[in-house]
């Protein structure tokens, strides 16, 4: 093992030791010091002289809903207490093959259901810029991963994004958060929340690192039925290369005017406008685009995601793994329980409040009484959202037949740029109190959900306003499979941040 690798890894371990008690970024069952993965063992074990990849020796954290062989994986839920997978998720396997050091598992909202990493069996994760007196939300649901990267606990981290669960915490914590096109990174080993929306994604400090990690992980995986096959990947690559043959100097940046909601706070609006102005000054053209179905996106997202969640979480019955109430808990009731009663009790005690709420809503929309009114409509809206995007992007959607109206590419955008959230990170206190009241600010999801619904790649790039100590993020969305374009623009925006001193 090279001394540089050892030095770097030791540094990370020290930061974790110093900060994790306060930040709660790593879950206690997945800390490097406890029974965590790799940990000291892999740090000491001999490493080949030649680096196995550009990620060789770099440190990683993995969200607690991604399986690591032999490491407890709980999704921050009591329901999966002690669940120890006997296999590595494909992305974990690939990281290991690249020589990465996996330090541990990070905190999250239970099963990914939440936006502030507060709904965790292990307590909330705190924003890395928090002090004892002012504590901020790290965002969610992959808040642990975002906080770990932001606070220097690891080089990069894996998370999962269903409706913004990577991009939101990345923007709050001031790191890059990238959600690839649906189907590019294998979900084998990701504990499902809503399987038509879930994507594994990446946290890192800069766009270049993000790209490196993505290239290491992106490959067809036969164990994931939704993984894009190799031939299609190749076809998309060739198709986009020929359509965008010249090296791109001038990009068309689309501004979705439907995203300009009045709830956007001043600093965010300012960052958005300033960045667009800087891009224009660099010679890129800014064009407004219309995404008509945006206003229905949130409601239909919550119907689809929750319906799928209700179905996917039906397997947690306390029979085969995870949490099962002790006999004493049952006996206290002083009655003989039917198996259905037992099941209800397991689920009542094993799931947290938000998960129970979402399962209930999801099941409601699946009942035969409401299926046609909710689920089917939501699916139709989802299709409209996809069509909206296809109509504004210059590149065609490689998975769909070209639209009839296609051809006029004059007013079409290469990428879309928008905020990630409506505001800078809120205080944890305000989040908890509104959660207690059952009030949700769904509007915060308006920027991230459409790309999730359409399966498009999108990335959150941190912007730090000089007068604000807390970071905020801008989002870039690209056509399906156009990760290259996405990373190129993200790079440009990342550089602007430095050059114009936003």
């Amino acid at each position: 093992m090279t001394s540089a690798v050892l030095r770097e890894a030791t540094k990370c371990l020290r930061v974790i030791k110093e900060k994790n008690d306060f930040l709660n970024a790593f879950v206690p069952t997945g800390l490097p010091t406890s029974n965590g993965p790799e940990t000291s063992l892999s740090l000491e074990s001999p490493r080949p002289d030649k680096p196995r990849s550009q990620l060789d020796g770099l440190t990683f954290a993995v969200k607690d809903n991604i399986c690591i062989k032999g490491t407890i994986t709980t999704c921050a839920s009591r329901m999966l207490t002690g669940f120890t997978p006997e296999y590595d998720a494909t992305v974990v396997k690939k990281l290991k093959e690249c020589g990465a050091i996996i330090l541990g598992k990070t905190n999250m909202d239970e099963f990914g259901m939440g936006s502030h990493s507060t709904f965790s069996h292990f307590g909330p994760t705190k924003h890395p810029s928090s002090t004892e007196s002012s504590i901020y939300s790290a965002g969610g649901s992959s808040g642990g991963s975002a906080a770990a990267v932001a606070s220097g606990m690891c080089f990069g981290a894996l998370g999962s994004d269903t409706g913004g669960s990577i991009r939101l915490p990345a923007s709050y914590c001031g790191v890059i958060g990238f959600k690839p096109s649906y189907g590019l990174l294998s979900r084998h080993g990701l504990v499902t929340y809503a399987n038509s929306l879930d994507s594994i994604g990446i946290f890192a400090k800069d766009v270049h690192s993000t790209r490196l990690i993505f290239d290491c992980l992106s490959e067809h995986d036969a164990t994931d039925p939704t993984s894009l096959d190799t031939a299609t990947r190749k076809r998309i690559g060739n198709q986009f290369q020929s359509l965008r043959s010249r090296s791109k100097r001038c990009w068309k940046i689309g501004i979705p005017i439907d995203y300009n909601v009045h709830e956007i706070s001043r600093p965010l609006r300012k960052a958005w406008i300033n960045t667009l102005a800087a891009l224009r000054d660099l010679g890129h053209s800014i064009i407004p685009v219309k995404l008509n179905s945006t206003r229905h996106a949130i409601s239909s997202y919550y119907i689809i995601a929750l319906a799928e969640a209700a179905s996917n979480l039906a397997k947690y019955d306390g029979v085969r793994f995870g949490f099962a109430p002790r006999t004493s808990m049952i006996c206290n009731l002083g009655e003989i329980l039917t198996s259905l009663n037992k099941l209800a009790m397991v689920r009542d005690m094993g799931f947290g409040r938000e998960v129970r709420r979402r399962i209930l809503l999801g099941n409601y929309s699946l009942t035969s009484r409401s299926f046609q009114n909710y689920f089917i409509h939501a699916q139709k809206i989802r299709r409209l959202i996809q069509q909206d995007f296809d109509e504004v992007f210059a590149l065609p959607n490689p998975l769909r037949k070209p639209l009839k109206s296609y051809g006029n590419s004059f007013n079409r955008a290469d990428v879309l740029v928008s905020p990630v959230s409506v505001s800078i990170p809120p205080s944890l206190e305000s989040v908890l109190s509104s959660e207690n009241l059952g009030l949700d600010s769904y509007i915060n999801d308006v920027f991230t959900i459409p790309a999730s619904m359409a399966g498009l790649p999108s990335i959150s790039i941190p912007i730090r306003d000089a007068r604000n100590e807390l970071p905020l993020g801008l989002q870039v969305i690209a056509q399906y499979g156009d990760e290259n374009g996405l990373f190129d623009i993200a790079n440009i925006i990342q550089q602007i941040r430095g050059s114009v001193g936003l």
Partner: protein
């Protein structure tokens, strides 16, 4: 008492509430609503899709018309499970054939095992279904400890096959005048559940249920008939027929007797002449044809009693107690499980190419009906009864045996005239002579010691007159009891001196012998000569055979006697 309502679909109730809305595709919802409205407006629900001749109600049900539909689940003859790589197993040690997906391990996804489609396709093609180019998989949710995922993956909205049919007629044991056409609404692929095994309490363990996941996720087909059956007898016949088709098409291996096929029935009664169907009652998990027939009969009786005492039938689900011979209510319509069907977002639609369907059609083994009609027609000319027995026996092995003997024999005999006779002869010897002896010696068909060539040799000797009937049977006995596999018919005939004496040289002796017999019974001979009692000839034929010690075959004796009486 509430008035007896006419149970047509109610207009105010949304369509989604109807338990029978299985065919409603969400994408085609509007069309379904239109159809629904049309049905309500005209109040004209066709009760039977195929009113066939002879499909009458049983008279004992009086004014009540019975309507029955079947839902049949059959384990597919597939080496692996539907969505995991685990091997299909029926006898392996508990929980030894379980892939992570079968145990619903978090993070593991389904992967369709393409080869499992083949037996399913064979079943659907054999049931005359239309194979849908595109079909999809859906989740059916309910909690039970033998259902690890909390849902079953099935094909609810777009099954892979639909609109099949099945004809029941004389070949199936119905009256010659009866022909009943049963519609097959759809055939869908789905997962089987795990097995729960109840264990009574012992001194150191409390009563508990053990779960064996070996069966969990195995491939099933569910075959849903239209409500077009009119009696318990037809239902049983239909089930028996579907079972034999599934076996013949090699879609399923085990029948009901081994739990490879299970059946739910839907029963309703309606006053004759009234439109529509009565409210249906479902009886679940029937595991024998007898249980299907008996439970329907009991249910019809129960429903008639309720209706005739002014009551109303509740839509409900019942379970059958085969020991007591009665059903009991499991849950009412209100307590019905809402399965919350939803398309499985991870499983891509299944696209079945027409060339595959054509391949299946061209390679499908002969179905029971085809074999039956082949057997009862020239050249085999078996009786329907014998033909049916033969088809039902030994999963078709008996038919193969029969045909190979017939082929062998007809090649060697080279006679055009009496093929009809040969077919019957082989049939008789295969079923009755051999079958009877195997049965009385408790030898299963799989251990049948006589191969088709030996049998053909035996019948060849019988047919050419070298063996008389009785002696041929003796050879058969010797073959069955012989411990040696390679013993030939020829050896046995010589060893035991069973050959009929050469006829040509002996015919004069025979004439002489016959004349002396005639002289012993002058009265009887006279009656024949005068033409009064011609069948007394048989008396002389019998006596002549007796006198020769059975070594001369009956045909020759008949000729000799015939000659003596010829003018």
């Amino acid at each position: 008492m509430p008035p007896i309502t006419t149970p047509v679909l109610r207009p105010r109730r949304p369509l989604a509430l109807q338990p029978l809305n299985r065919w409603v595709c969400p994408a085609c919802f509007n069309r379904a609503v239109r159809q629904f409205n049309a049905i309500v407006e005209t109040s004209n629900v066709p009760s039977v899709t195929h009113p066939a001749k002879g499909n009458e109600i049983e008279p004992k049900n009086g004014k009540w018309e019975v309507t029955i539909g079947l839902e049949i689940h059959a384990q597919l003859n597939a080496p692996r499970k539907l969505f995991s790589y685990a091997a299909t197993s029926f006898n392996a040690p508990p929980n030894s054939r379980v892939a992570p997906f079968d145990a619903a391990m978090p993070g593991i996804q389904p992967k369709l095992n393409i080869p499992t489609i083949m037996p399913a396709l064979r079943a659907a093609v054999a049931l005359d279904c239309r194979i849908n180019h595109r079909s999809t998989f859906d989740r059916k949710h309910y909690f039970y400890k033998d259902q690890p995922n909390g849902y079953q993956i099935t094909q609810f909205y777009h099954p892979f096959a639909s609109d099949g049919k099945l004809v029941l007629n004389e070949l199936d044991g119905l009256e010659p005048s009866e022909t009943v056409e049963i519609g097959i609404k759809q055939v869908q692929m789905e997962q089987d559940t795990a097995k729960s095994i109840f264990q009574a309490s012992t001194h150191d363990t409390p009563a508990r249920t053990l779960v064996d996941l070996n069966r969990a996720g195995s491939a099933l087909v569910e075959i849903i008939t239209t409500p077009s059956l009119k009696s318990s007898k037809h239902a049983a016949t239909c089930l028996r027929k579907i079972q034999s088709i599934l076996k013949a098409s090699n879609a399923a291996v085990d029948g009901m007797e081994k739990g490879g096929i299970r059946c739910d029935v839907n029963v309703s009664i309606q006053e004759r002449g009234l439109e529509g169907l009565g409210r249906r009652v479902e009886i679940k998990n029937l595991n024998s044809i007898k249980a299907v027939q008996e439970s329907i009969e009991a249910e019809v009786k129960r429903q008639i009693t309720v209706r005739e005492s002014g009551g109303e039938i509740e839509g409900e689900t019942r379970g059958w107690d085969a020991v007591r011979g009665e059903s009991k209510k499991l849950r009412s319509k209100e307590g019905e499980v809402d399965y919350r069907y939803m398309p499985d977002a991870e499983l891509a639609p299944l696209i079945i190419d027409e060339s595959l369907v054509n391949h299946i059609k061209s390679t499908l083994p002969q179905l029971p009906d085809q074999i039956l009609s082949e057997l009862i027609n020239e050249p085999f000319s078996l009786t329907l009864k014998d033909a049916r027995t033969m088809v039902d026996l030994d999963d078709g092995a008996r038919v193969q045996y029969y045909k190979s003997i017939y082929g062998n024999l007809s090649n060697r005999l080279n006679i055009e005239s009496s093929t009809k006779h040969i077919g019957k002869l082989v049939g008789n010897w295969t079923l009755h002579e051999l079958g009877g002896r195997l049965a009385s010696n408790s030898i299963p068909w799989s251990d049948n010691p006589i191969d088709a060539t030996q049998m053909a040799d035996l019948l060849y000797n019988l047919q050419t007159g070298r063996l008389a009937g009785g002696n041929a049977k003796q050879v058969l006995d010797l073959l069955i009891n012989s411990k040696k596999n390679d013993i030939t018919v020829e050896t046995l005939i010589i060893e035991h001196d069973l050959a009929t004496e050469s006829v040509s040289g002996e015919i004069a002796n025979l004439m002489e012998l016959a004349s002396t017999i005639l002289e012993q019974y002058p009265d009887k001979a006279e009656q024949i000569r005068s033409g009064k009692k011609l069948n007394l000839k048989n008396f002389f034929i019998g006596n002549l055979m007796k006198a020769t010690g059975g070594k001369v075959n009956a045909q020759v004796c008949k000729e000799v006697i015939g000659k003596l009486f010829s003018p």
